[in-house]
């Protein structure tokens, strides 16, 4: 502790150099933070998927529907506790670019199925009572500046017509990664008004009584509808989210590669800087040793300097990344999970410190090995 002023004094020796090195860390960590956010945007659904929920879709593809009559048959299968269903609407608000997910939902069952959404009771009742009512997630509401009571026209893309809805409530997530971009309205209204495909749903979401039995129940469900005109494909919510992620290719690998290159570059830059910092004060280090400072102390001194740069730069970069995410999703709602979790910030800082240690290690060791007599002779 008493050497802290000394470490700082050393850092301020070449201010520009220190600022540049700290800056390199900040930039690298900012990028790291953003990569993490992007990764989360694609994989966030996997992490937060309910462990006790299954999704059943048409075996052919998610676009093909399933009959509503499956609901009662599903409820009879052993292990199935609750069933809800929904359709995708696929409309746009004002403009094609204003994309966000709209679902026709079953107002009787949907709320119990997704307890992760925070919904005010009075708003929900108002929603249920209004045939043309809609419930919207807070980020979409914020994006378009919608308030409760607003009448919102949504133009269908494959379903004809402009549909007008009354915003009756705004829901929030309970976790930062919860998707608050959705827009819900009454399935019954949807089914009555659409010109085709009546009595069919897009997919079923099923709650089971025991997540450990998921595999069995999945099999039982698909067995139930085998050889029917609408065979089903059932999987856990997590598996669905994961297969959705796979459509985008190996994002994890891409991000790891970019991140790896960035950190390797950072390592070289910092290592070089620390090597110069040590070389230009060989004489001073020798004097320190002569007056009784140990080799180990000199090693720690150099490492501390490197770590300090890493810590400050890393913290700066992660703070910038956090601020950036707080400012909101720049794609304006395309990424449902746009969020930098505390664990990512911690991982970033730890990585920065690791780079600091590795980069400082070689120069620190050469400083440690430095012999006083040789150093003082090198005038």
């Amino acid at each position: 502790m008493r050497f802290l002023p000394f470490i700082f004094a050393n850092l301020f020796r070449k201010k520009i150099r220190t600022v540049l090195t700290v800056g390199s860390f900040a930039v690298a960590l900012f990028l790291f933070g953003l990569l993490f956010v992007v990764r989360g945007a694609f994989t966030g659904g996997v992490d937060i998927a309910g462990a006790d929920r299954l999704v059943t879709i048409n075996r052919t593809s998610i676009i093909q529907p399933l009959p509503l009559s499956y609901r009662d048959r599903l409820l009879k299968i052993r292990g199935v506790k609750q069933v809800t269903f929904a359709n995708w609407f696929g409309g746009v608000y004002q403009d094609e670019r204003n994309f966000f997910p709209q679902f026709a939902v079953d107002t009787d069952t949907m709320r119990q199925m997704f307890p992760e959404f925070r919904i005010a009771d009075d708003q929900w009742q108002a929603f249920v009572a209004d045939r043309e009512g809609a419930f919207v997630g807070e980020s979409t509401a914020k994006r378009f500046g919608w308030k409760i009571g607003d009448r919102i026209p949504i133009r269908g893309t494959f379903i004809p017509g402009v549909w007008e809805f009354n915003i009756r409530g705004i829901y929030h997530g309970t976790r930062p990664a919860d998707d608050t971009t959705q827009f819900w309205f009454h399935w019954k209204y949807f089914d009555e008004r659409k010109p085709f495909g009546k009595g069919f749903v897009g997919w079923y979401t099923i709650r089971i009584d025991n997540p450990d039995r998921a595999v069995e129940i999945v099999k039982a469900i698909d067995q139930e509808f085998v050889n029917s005109p609408w065979e089903t494909k059932t999987d856990t919510e997590k598996a669905f989210a994961a297969s959705w992620v796979k459509q985008f290719g190996n994002i994890q690998f891409l991000i790891l590669t970019i991140g790896g290159v960035v950190f390797f570059t950072l390592l070289l830059v910092t290592g070089n800087t620390m090597a110069i910092a040590v070389r230009e004060r060989i004489g001073e280090l020798a004097v320190l040793k002569a007056i009784g400072y140990s080799d180990g102390f000199v090693l720690r001194l150099v490492l501390a300097e490197s770590l300090m740069v890493a810590a400050v730069g890393g913290a700066l970069g992660m703070s910038l990344a956090k601020l950036f995410t707080l400012a909101g999703d720049p794609t304006r709602g395309l990424l449902p999970f746009f969020y930098l979790p505390a664990s990512a910030i911690a991982a970033g800082i730890v990585t920065a410190l690791a780079v600091g240690i590795v980069a400082g290690m070689l120069p620190a060791i050469s400083a440690m090995r430095l012999r006083v007599v040789d150093a003082l002779r090198r005038v």
């Binding site: 008493r2 050497f3 002023p5 000394f6 004094a9 050393n10 301020f12 020796r13 004489g283 001073e284 020798a286 004097v287 320190l288 040793k289 002569a290 007056i291 009784g292 400072y293 140990s294 080799d295 180990g296 006083v372 007599v373 003082l376 005038v379």
Partner: protein, 241 residues
């Protein structure tokens, strides 16, 4: 008393049969050859000799920053020639005050912080350290330059700060390698007056290398390094006890 014949005893610094060889390529340089030296407490010794005669080598060995090829050095009863690296480091912190010709001060630390450096290795509290540093800077007459950085000081003042750092932990003896080598006559005189005062008033033991006969004259004893051994050149009658 200062002796170079190897017959002294009970002295503060006792050197016997000191050999130092350097290997430069295939060539072997035998710098010190069976050197003997006895120095008692409170002595002020100057080493002289042509460039390359081994003065710095000798000082480095006495200060425990280099190891001899053969022979032994005992300081206040401790034989330092067989100490391990870390033990030797601790020994240096307690017993040796170094003043070099150049490279003395850490440029990013103030005069105060430079002088405080040796004390950071001790258990002294902040208040105690402040007291010691204050005293040391007062002795070298730089109480008004406490917060100055080395670049804001003259060469002579820098060297005085270095001396303050060398005495602040009250070491057993001071080793000065050409402390006036980089200074003008007037600053050199001031430094020598200061070192003399350390010896006369504070009873310090000082071993100093110099090229300057006028500087050497201030010492009690001047020893010449010739063919790897010491020869007595002059001894003043004053001071030595």
């Amino acid at each position: 008393m200062v002796r170079v014949d190897g017959n002294g005893n009970s002295s503060l610094i006792c050197v016997r049969g000191l050999d130092k060889k350097y290997q430069r390529g295939s060539e072997e340089i035998h710098v010190l050859q069976g050197l003997n030296l006895d120095v008692e407490k409170g002595e002020f010794v100057a080493f002289m000799g042509p460039s390359g005669s081994g003065k710095t080598t000798l000082l480095n060995l006495l200060g425990g920053v280099d190891v001899p090829t053969r022979g032994r050095i005992t300081v206040a009863g401790d034989e330092i020639t067989h100490m391990s690296g870390s033990k030797l480091t601790n020994w240096r912190a307690r017993h040796v005050g170094f003043v070099f010709q150049v490279f003395n001060l850490i440029p990013v630390l103030t005069a105060y912080q430079n002088v405080e450096l040796p004390l950071l290795l001790t258990k002294l509290s902040k208040a105690e350290r402040r007291k010691h540093v204050g005293t040391a800077l007062a002795v070298v007459d730089l109480s008004d330059r406490v917060d100055h950085y080395p670049r804001q000081l003259s060469g002579g003042q820098e060297q005085r700060v270095a001396i303050a750092r060398a005495i602040v932990s009250d070491p057993t003896f001071l080793l000065c390698d050409e402390p006036t080598g980089d200074l003008d006559r007037k600053s050199a005189d001031q430094i020598m007056t200061l070192i003399e005062r350390l010896v006369e008033e504070y009873g310090k033991t000082v071993l100093m290398v110099t090229h300057d006969p006028l500087v050497a004259k201030r010492a009690h004893t001047t020893l010449h390094l010739e063919k790897g051994a010491l020869v007595e050149a002059a001894t003043k009658e004053v001071g030595a006890s």
